[in-house]
């Protein structure tokens, strides 16, 4: 059977054709790696990186989702050993009833552990808990020579792999330290902020009291409303905080799927008027201030997962997600970026703002202390005018960077300026994979 298939990222923008192989056992994978052709091998999970990170045009792409076992669970130590293809969704369904929650959860549950390591993902708790890689105790990496190495955080290769976008080897298994929880609910405080100043000051002075914090900004708001937003922050709810009706099901995790976007979605539906109306309604419906609301984990962490294939709403041209971080102190740059987006009147839904804490030790890990803003940008006339290039310049000038897991358009010249440890990473990678067996479209495009 012909295994060649066209693969794209979540943004559905620049696909390429690769030979897609389901992941077999370790020996089979080792053979695949040692017999790799000139275009190399890359692991792919659930394809949620937005750009070309999980594509390898002309080469082999290993679909890791078949290797999704949970190998061991120790509720005493909260350590679990899982295969790289296991999704966070699976871990939540299986382990929440045991009182264990993933240490870091991004905006979707539909990512694999391997992908979470490769992108060294972050969540709403980065300011207190750091990135995903900080909760990995060890991992088994299939290296270019076919050997399997057990890596721990003491090794350089571990930190070249966490955040290394799959270019150092194939993660087979990992041992994670889970977070102990008493319920599958969160205790959430909500604040509506009329402008950016208020939002930034509230976050700066209050975030440390919360485990989870994120703000949704209406990027279409202008003038004195620039940066108006809804800030939601919370903690994992204890049993005592739950209302009595939930006590019998405190650890139940049954996320609902509300809808599936059909394969062909009328592209005209998403325009400035409809999006502005949506943003307005969303802002108005949020309470000015609410304390101690109980929300399910799915509602608090993964609201978009309720709508399957939501990436189709952007139509056949697709979209990209622009996410950057600028250091604390560069609030003016952040404001100028939001101003530029507001001026461009991009038909984008809400942008997400959060504060990062300590940097991750990964050479190419994205999080550094500062403000990170993420927003979807539909591919269309507005961005062809160089808006994103101007944003890049602003971010670079402020000493910021962009997230490789989201990237699909950065010029290769920007990367070394954004990731000062790139050369160090290249050294480690060259030592582990001298022939460059592990390759991706992202790596080729950016010259990593």
């Amino acid at each position: 059977m012909d295994s060649r298939r066209s693969l794209a990222g979540w943004g559905r923008t620049n696909p390429s054709v690769a030979s897609v192989r389901p992941a077999g056992d370790d020996a089979e994978l080792a053979r695949l790696v040692t017999e790799a052709g000139p275009r190399g091998v890359l692991a792919r999970g659930l394809g949620r990186s937005y750009g070309d990170a999980a594509q390898n045009g002309g080469g082999v792409v290993v679909d890791m989702t078949a290797r999704n076992g949970v190998l061991s669970v120790d509720t005493g130590t909260a350590l679990v050993e899982v295969e790289a293809g296991a999704s966070l969704d699976k871990l939540m369904r299986l382990l929440l009833p045991m009182g264990l929650f993933v240490p870091v959860s991004p905006g979707t549950r539909h990512v694999t552990v391997g992908g979470a390591i490769a992108a060294d993902i972050h969540g709403k708790n980065h300011h207190v808990d750091g990135s995903f890689g900080c909760h990995v105790l060890s991992m088994d990496l299939l290296c270019a020579d076919g050997s399997i190495r057990r890596l721990t955080p003491e090794s350089e290769l571990f930190w070249a792999t966490a955040g290394g976008m799959g270019l150092t080897g194939l993660v087979l298994r990992a041992t994670l330290r889970m977070k102990r929880v008493e319920s599958a609910y969160c205790l959430v405080d909500t604040d509506r902020c009329p402008d950016l100043d208020e939002l930034l000051s509230r976050m700066a002075e209050g975030d440390h009291r919360y485990t989870y914090s994120v703000a949704w900004i209406d990027c279409l708001a202008r003038g004195s409303s620039l940066g108006r937003s809804v800030l939601t922050r919370g903690w994992s709810a204890t049993r005592q905080q739950l209302p009595s009706r939930l006590l019998d099901h405190a650890l139940d995790f049954r996320p609902k799927q509300l809808a599936v976007v059909p394969p062909v979605f009328p592209s005209g539906l998403l325009n400035r008027a409809t999006v502005a109306a949506f943003n307005e309604a969303w802002y108005r419906k949020a309470p000015r201030e609410r304390r101690g609301e109980i929300q399910s984990i799915a509602a608090f962490f993964h609201p978009l997962d309720a709508v399957a294939a939501w990436n189709r709403i952007y139509g056949p041209k697709g979209f990209l997600q622009y996410q950057f971080v600028v250091p604390f102190g560069a609030e003016d740059a952040l404001r100028r970026c939001i101003q530029m987006l507001s001026d461009a009147g991009q038909a984008s839904f809400l942008a997400v703002l959060k504060r990062f804490g300590q940097p991750s030790p990964g050479h190419l890990s994205f999080p550094t202390p500062g403000w990170t803003l993420a927003l979807d940008v539909p591919i269309g006339a507005a961005i062809l005018g160089g808006l994103l290039d101007r944003l890049d310049e602003e971010v670079l000038a402020a000493g910021g960077r962009q997230y490789l897991a989201k990237d699909s358009r950065l010029p290769s010249t920007a990367i070394a300026r954004m990731y000062p440890r790139l050369d160090e990473w290249r050294e480690v990678r060259r030592a582990a994979d001298p022939r460059g067996v592990f390759a991706s479209d992202l790596g080729r495009r950016l010259g990593l």
């Binding site: 923008t13 696909p15 054709v17 000139p38 045009g57 080469g59 697709g318 358009r409 479209d441 495009r445």
Partner: protein, 253 residues
């Protein structure tokens, strides 16, 4: 590797002094700095000038020798572009001869030269480039056809026959490569005011190379398989193809 908004990183132009090709490169890259362009053409003043023009716009032009009728030269030129480092996003097949029609249908050497360059070499390069793009799993070929291939006219049917052959080959090649992530875009311009048509009286709906380039880039980004320049030429040719011969041969075209 091209990015999400269609910015390309590396382009190969076979027939690297073609005015339409150079206008297309400029339009396609939006003069974005650092784009690598390989200009495959005969050495000489024109190639030097073409490379200098691209360099002046911030691109990095590389000149390589290319003689369409010499298969080894075609192989070398294509290999040099594909083995220079990164993936090639776009290959333009832009070489061709107009020739002297009246000589071409009466002089076997003149006729076969047109066939060798416009058809045989275009097919040869198409085969070589297709294999390269298949191997990288993405990319695009832009092949310069002509409305002259759509219905042969008394005034330039030898040229027209070579373009008809090229057109058929690249149409089929596009189908063959559809599942390989490779787009093949056929361009059928009408009369374009270039070096090639210098001295000829301009036909109706005549175009500048820049106008053709606009059509090409729009078609490439929209994922089209065939474009006409100007776009209205599609409907003009559709009518002309269906005219009875008695009427067609009396038209002043």
């Amino acid at each position: 590797m091209k990015d999400a908004i269609g910015n390309v990183q590396r382009i190969l132009v076979l027939g690297g002094t073609s005015e339409i090709a150079l206008a297309t490169v400029v339009k396609l890259t939006q003069e974005r700095a650092g784009v690598q362009v390989t200009l495959a053409a005969r050495p000489g003043e024109r190639r030097i000038a073409a490379a200098a023009a691209l360099d002046a716009r911030g691109m990095q032009a590389t000149e390589v020798d290319f003689e369409a009728t010499d298969q080894a030269s075609c192989e070398r030129a294509i290999a040099s572009a594909f083995e220079a480092g990164g993936d090639v996003d776009v290959v333009m097949v832009a070489f061709g001869l107009l020739g002297d029609q009246e000589r071409a249908w009466q002089d076997v050497d003149a006729a076969l030269e047109l066939v060798q360059v416009n058809y045989a070499a275009a097919v040869g390069c198409g085969v070589l480039v297709a294999a390269r793009l298949r191997a990288q799993g993405h990319g695009a070929i832009i092949a310069m056809s002509s409305v002259a291939g759509e219905r042969p006219r008394r005034s330039n049917f030898v040229y027209g026959s070579t373009k008809a052959g090229l057109d058929a080959f690249y149409t089929g090649l596009g189908d063959a490569l559809a599942t390989d992530g490779v787009q093949v875009l056929l361009v059928r311009p009408g009369f374009v005011r270039t070096r090639m048509t210098d001295g000829l009286a301009a036909a109706p709906l005549s175009q500048t190379p820049q106008q053709v380039a606009d059509v090409i880039v729009a078609g490439l980004q929209a994922g089209r398989r065939t474009v006409w320049a100007p776009p209205a030429m599609r409907w003009v040719m559709s009518v002309l193809r269906h005219l009875p011969r008695a009427v067609f041969t009396r038209l002043p075209v």
